[in-house]
């Protein structure tokens, strides 16, 4: 979207960017004072209470995708598209008992990589690391890129400046404050996002009635109301399984399961799921009202900001700018922290420096965060539009890890060969279907193939895993 169609003037955009940048970095430095060791830095002392735990889980899952892509999904796929996007909350609901199980089996664990290595051995661990780093890095790059594009679209701030500022701010406060800063800022960011979206929803409803929206959609976009809209029906479970794969495998969520105080994880993820579930519906509703409000939408990804700016005027434009900035920051910081912890623990500590002391590990984690930030910045700089679409390739990769992880946590008979074949065949066939059939079946097929592999090996070549082996590497 060109600058001249921005909903906010650049000066206001820069002022807002400066205020929130100073706020996040200041809070990061303040909270970072508590960090003495790698455990403090990576896991916030393993003592996060229910309120902060719920807020960080919800805020991390509210990415710029939720505030920008959920309205786009609704505009493209209608009511089903809106509901399909909200099914991503199932990832949080189902991770609730998993978080409890993780805390019980690995009270001193650090990363999801620890689990894969101890549960399934080094080959499965290696495959897992390749998959999860691919996913995490492409997610990080796509978020940073989205940051630059969205700030440009909303306030006319040049792409390179916007992208650089948002990355630099997140890197600085994550480096200084570790998971304490990430969780603390997530709490504030989640409150801002939720209040912003609720106000936007009510503002839209005050301008146009449900009946008017329905009449407009029936006349101009009937498929959006169609219960049997094929593209939308296909998207439901593909989206759901992509979401499950993202949450179940990624260290963003495992690090929180380790960091939450004992007994908190399960309740926190259920609350986060309940908080998150209506957000894509509210954001999607805003998009469905665009026709009745007479808002012309030049490109689907800008429908949310355009409708809100139309309804709330300059106040709405400021609100959407803040909400989008918060949702970007809450995801980028979590990704930076969790990915740097994964690399520090699984590669630096386990492979390069097994004798490293806690303070050295903390320094390593900070340097890795900085390196991730610089790397992401360098990749984002040329603004290769197609790069963000690489994230969609990650769908089959993450979906192929659902069954190895779930059965690895609950079934003694889940085997190494089952996990390896599930990840290799699931992702391979999933990727094949991505290119030969379409994006809308890739995650679904990957999860199905993976499930069949795990079930076959558990039935015909079971193992007898001893749960205490998961605590062996915690020392």
């Amino acid at each position: 979207m060109p600058d001249e169609q921005a909903v906010l003037n650049p000066t206001t955009g820069w002022i807002l960017l400066a205020i929130f940048s100073v706020l996040w970095i200041g809070l990061g430095v303040y909270w970072g004072r508590k960090n003495k060791s790698f455990e403090d830095h990576a896991l916030a002392g393993r003592n996060v209470g229910l309120a902060l735990a719920s807020a960080t889980a919800a805020a991390t899952w509210i990415t710029s995708n939720t505030t920008m892509l959920a309205p786009q999904f609704a505009l493209q796929l209608g009511i089903w598209g809106m509901l399909a996007y909200s099914t991503a909350s199932f990832g949080l609901f189902l991770f609730a008992p998993i978080a409890k199980r993780i805390r019980k089996l690995m009270p001193n664990g650090y990363t999801s990589g620890d689990f894969m290595r101890l549960r399934y051995g080094r080959v499965a661990w290696g495959i897992f690391l390749v998959f999860t780093l691919f996913y995490s890095l492409t997610w990080l790059v796509s978020m940073a890129m989205a940051g630059g594009i969205v700030l440009n679209a909303l306030a006319g701030i040049p792409y390179v400046y916007g992208m650089s500022v948002i990355l630099a701010v997140c890197v600085l406060y994550t480096m200084r404050g570790g998971l304490y800063a990430v969780i603390g800022t997530d709490f504030i960011q989640s409150v801002i996002i939720i209040v912003g979206i609720v106000i936007a929803g009510f503002a839209v409803l005050s301008k146009v009635s449900m009946a008017e929206i329905h009449t407009n959609l029936t006349a101009n976009s009937p498929a959006l109301l169609d219960v049997l809209f094929p593209a939308a029906l296909i998207a439901i479970f593909n989206n759901l399984l992509f979401g499950l794969g993202e949450v179940f495998h990624n260290n963003v969520w495992w690090s929180r399961a380790f960091a939450f105080r004992e007994g908190v994880g399960q309740r926190a993820f259920i609350i986060a799921g309940l908080v998150w579930f209506p957000i894509p519906i509210a954001a999607g509703f805003v998009a469905l009202a665009s026709g009745a409000l007479g808002v012309a939408v030049p490109s689907a990804d800008m429908v949310g900001p355009l409708v809100i700016a139309n309804v709330l005027g300059s106040v709405g434009a400021i609100a959407i700018f803040i909400v989008v900035f918060c949702s970007l920051a809450s995801s980028i910081d979590s990704l930076l922290a969790a990915t740097s912890d994964l690399i520090t623990e699984d590669i630096y500590r386990r492979i390069a420096r097994p004798t490293a002391k806690p303070a050295e590990l903390k320094n390593a984690a900070q340097m890795i965060t900085l390196a991730l930030g610089i790397g992401a910045w360098a990749v984002c700089l040329p603004r290769i539009g197609t790069l963000a679409s690489v994230l969609f390739f990650a769908g089959p990769l993450v979906a192929s890890m659902i069954w190895p992880i779930v059965t690895g946590l609950y079934w003694k008979r889940a085997s190494r060969l089952g996990a390896i074949s599930a990840m290799v065949l699931g992702s391979g066939i999933g990727l094949w279907s991505y290119f030969s059939i379409g994006w809308y079946v890739a995650s679904l097929i990957a999860a199905m193939v993976s499930m069949v592999c795990v079930l076959l090996f558990a039935a015909f070549k079971p193992e007898e895993f001893q749960w205490q082996e998961l605590q062996e590497g915690d020392q």
């Binding site: 209608g78 008992p97 998993i98 409890k100 399984l241 012309a296 030049p298």
Partner: protein
Amino acid sequence: MRHRLAALLLLAASTPLNSIASVPSFKTEDLQSIDAGYLQLQWEAEEGADITLQRSRNADFSDPVTVYQGKGRALFVSGLAEGDVYFRLEDSAANASDILTIKVRHQSLKRALYLMLLGGLTTLATIFVIIKGARNAR
């Protein structure tokens, strides 16, 4: 003779260019088929010109619906029902574009329901393993 030929060629080359510049035209590919009922329409017109975009279910535009009026050069349309949809542009001087035909051919409902069933079974199996595992772990 050569001069006359050159002048004729120049005239021939310049006349259509002038007329193209004043008539709005679609940049979106004509006769394209879409399977999810949405697409972005793009067009070009004289700078600053107000454009009216009309949609019709009939090629003769016997039932036109105005879907956009303004200075924009793109519009995202979605939720289109099965069948052919026709669009045309008009500027304030009544210069009209060629008609753009979009073929809306939704994906097979049978295949969508079949994939939904497979997805539902995989999801239910996953939920079952987690709930049963969590109960047994108590």
